[in-house]
Amino acid sequence: MNDISLKDALKVVGTRPVRPDGVDKVVGRAQFGGDATMPGMIFGATVRSPHAHARIKKINTAKAEALKGVKAVITAADMPEIVSEEAFVGEGPMNFRDLSNNLMARDKVLYDGHVVAAVAASSMSIAKAAAELVEVEYEVLPHVIDEIEAMADGAPVLHDDVFTAGVDPKPTKPSNVAKRVEFAKGDLAAGFAAADKIIERTYKTAPVHQAYIEPHACIAAYNADGQCTVICSSQGQFMVRAYCAKLLGIDISDIRVVPAEIGGGFGGKTLVYLEPLALALSRKAGRPVRMVMDRVDVFRGTGPTSGGTVKVKLGAKKDGTITAADAEIILQAGAYPGSPMGPAAMCCWAMYDIPNARAVGVDVVSNRPKVAAYRAPGAPISTFGTESAVDEMARELGLDPIEMRLKNAAKNGTKALYGPTFQNIGYVETLEAAKAHPNLQAKLGPNQGRGVATGFWFNIGGESSASLAVNEDGTLVLVSGSPDIGGSRASMAMMAAEILGIEVEHIRPIVGDTASVGFTFLTGGSRVTFATGMAVCEATNEVVKQLRGRAAKIWEIDVEAVEWRDGSAYPAGDNAGKFEPLSLADIAAKAARTGGPITAKGAVNAQGAGPGFGTHVVDVEVDPETGHVKVLRYTAVQDVGRAIHPSYVEGQIQGGTVQGIGWALNEEYIYTKDGRLDNASFLDYRVPVASDLPAIDAVLVEVPNPRHPFGAKGVGEVPIVPPMAAVANAICAATGVRMTSLPMSPPKLKAAIDAAGK
């Protein structure tokens, strides 16, 4: 069963059963973060800064505390002061002190919406009224929003202890530029000298929010004995536990975090905003506290991913061979250091085998919410630049965009700019599949154009735990530590069912809380099907071994003489003896007499995640009179290793693509002159609606990853990497206008079309 080349032998993996968590979600009974209750529960609300940058001179909570029904008011004074220390708990870089200050401002507020106090009261309306009674005296400071302006001399400096890291000599003055990283190989100057054509462009992207439908929500109880329980929606119950422990000075063993269903995360729920506040309020009030953000809070106070500036220089021979490639990616970190400029730099040239290449990442703080992970953090931003430039180069040289990419494609054995040598990758296969797709033959009318772009994401492995228990009737319960944000319960059960040779409906997959399953790194990095899948397979193989052992005991033969297939134990060949096969149910019924419960655990630190590549083709129609872009056709081809549940793999690809289309066309953060966010709602922060989109054809290419029992690779992040460049390239094909700034919204595109006189 571990021979991944034998796809035809698989009975469960690759099929499309109904998801185990589907019915509850369809009928509205699933318990999300804001649904849990506890006896004696009260309600929390936050007080947020109206200023982009200000010193907190005084906070007076007396009036709020005096309001009838108010049980607790907290400020930074109620939270331990945390020392600067790098955290490796979530996805992407984070510093415990910064996270603490981000949750609850200490001394200074750094963005509009920064929390300065929180209250808890016997009703939500009292809590909100109390929040308005908290008096905060500010000394308003000059602010800076744009990353390029933040780098300029004389810009307001946010932190007096941030000195640019990664430059020589070490700076002596604090700066908004937190860090610079560089990846380089070959000889850039020689590469550009050898080029027949050089394209040099600067691209700009807007910050975009993950826009999960479920706002952040939790309930937290800090009991009199110091034992804490948190029920919340997150991408990692162990992540929430670790952050709460560190930020509040509580032992990890005193906190139990129960994962709720999660209404979307996309990376934005890989850190905490409310949970430590709810615990601190609960500690002070002596009551469980529920906190639920509204959408305005979500936009002002959480996420997004960075906006940034991407400078690209690309050189190629007339035949399309890329001789040199250079990119500098300057990303907004938000109020505290830690943008995804590292992965942005690492991913932007990863699709290509380029002899002379460089990618530089620059991390810049400004008066915006601290960025959070968002689906392939950083890669979509840098790739918008590099894949736009590759398209322009192909256009200039008169080459087909797919052929241009095939000519320079990364293959097995290619040493990536960021270090590793690729193995078992399927980039060329995605290009070939795109080339063969009917989308490329579809006829285009007036004002219509076709764009192609590709993308890369690493995918990761890491620590995961799972346990499997055989019930008395032969059904099983499968517990893993990975919150299910993309259908992972289904795929976990399917892998176990495949190994056991039973129907997937006989396995009930559960996401365990921190007290009922071993440590599991959060759901992120497209790691769950790969890494937690390996833990599940390990546990399942152990259960099969035990089942064979129990059959051997019943038959009184050697365990080596028992084989397991199709859900039953069989004697292995004639020499083993003649016995009727024993089904899982038969063995389960006799478990008490053959050694007791049959259970097993899997615990892995998975290595060897297979990197993912995608090739996207999009057809658009531009209304030249209004700048409105209609997406006519969209084909997203991706190497997925092996699709465990193809519907959910396709869903991931379609979902990532849709978010990318929103990023390309309309999503952006709009600030007033005062540095206040002006579009903190889904009305003016425009994610695509269903009627904006065609059916997105997700094409699965399967180049298996031999490190996984079934060949799976991560699939959730790659699909958001190519769309922005693909759409820009299609718009250019339709109008002749090259858009270098996102979003390509109607007013911007109309102005560009008019300026070009087309």
Partner: protein, 289 residues
């Protein structure tokens, strides 16, 4: 703490009395698809809320000799299901159905959209172009005014504190008269008009326009009646020269702001584009009658 009082009177007089005697600010509740959102966000905090939906005549559509009487709080969904009104006034009825989503349509009303007094209200330019009138109830009885006289500036109406809109009267359309409404939004639905345009035309048997009314939304502090645009149409067929004049007249009437939804330049240009496109639909509908 904020705790408003809510009343659901069953007669016009009772409603007027509640509004006239309200201590502090009062708001009329029709569908509530703006009011409740604004109260939740804290932007509006009326002390008194007067729900008019229990008053006979505020919900429902009747065809009478003087026109179509549409109750102030009649939801968009119900308007969309009235085949007679939809056939007579496709522009007016399509416009109200553009507001919000299917769920919002179960409540959203002409009166709410008009009294919210946003220049971007989708149903307003269509009503204006069609020559609809608002019947306003107050302590001095009922008075009837053209719809365009209701909003006076963003968020403000000409109604006195004791007044509310009871119903609308949309004239009966006769002969070769037809209307259309188009809006520009960055998406395809669930959005607010960046520009809106309502056009109503009457044609003679040769396709020459004999009467016209053109209204633009979201390009000025209130919805505009653009007489110059109507003049560009009257006496003409819908040829390129007429369309160019119409485009220019529409652009000339614009007095928009640049904000998060669009720039002055963009709104002005798109107003011209929409005027042409809306007129083309209205002409083709009228010619087919």
């Amino acid at each position: 703490m904020y705790s408003p009082t809510y009343a659901a009177p069953t007669t016009v007089d009772e409603a007027v009395g509640l509004l006239a005697n309200a201590s502090g600010s009062a708001r009329v509740l029709s569908g509530g698809t703006d009011l409740i959102i604004q109260m939740r966000s804290g932007r509006l905090r009326p002390q008194t809320i007067v729900d008019i939906k229990n008053i006979a005549g505020t919900i429902g559509i009747r065809e009478e000799a003087d026109g179509w009487h549409v109750g102030a709080a009649t939801p968009g969904a119900e308007i969309g299901e009235n085949a007679g009104l939809c056939a007579a006034w496709p522009g007016v009825t399509e416009a109200v159905q553009l507001i919000g989503s299917t769920q919002v349509q179960g409540r959203a009303s002409f009166a709410g959209n008009l009294c919210n007094a946003s220049p971007a209200g989708d149903s307003v330019p269509g009503l204006v172009a069609a020559g609809a009138k608002a019947v306003i109830a107050g302590k001095n009885g009922k008075r009837t005014i053209p719809v365009e006289q209701v909003p006076v500036s963003p968020g403000r109406t000409s109604l006195a504190a004791d007044e509310f809109i009871y119903e609308f009267i949309i004239p009966k359309s006769s002969g070769k008269t037809a209307d259309a409404y188009l809006r520009f939004i960055p998406r395809t639905e669930m959005d607010i008009a960046v520009v809106g345009c309502g056009v109503c035309v009457t044609l003679d048997n040769n396709g020459v326009c004999t009467a016209a009314k053109v209204s633009l939304g979201a390009v000025a502090p209130t919805v505009l009646v653009v007489d110059a645009a109507a003049k560009a149409l009257i006496g003409n067929k819908l040829d390129d020269a007429t369309l160019a004049k119409l485009d220019a007249a529409a652009q000339a009437a614009c007095n928009p702001i640049s904000d998060k939804r669009g720039t002055i330049e963009f709104r002005t240009k798109v107003a011209g584009v929409l005027a042409r496109r809306t007129a083309a639909i209205a002409f083709s509908r009228a010619a087919a009658r």
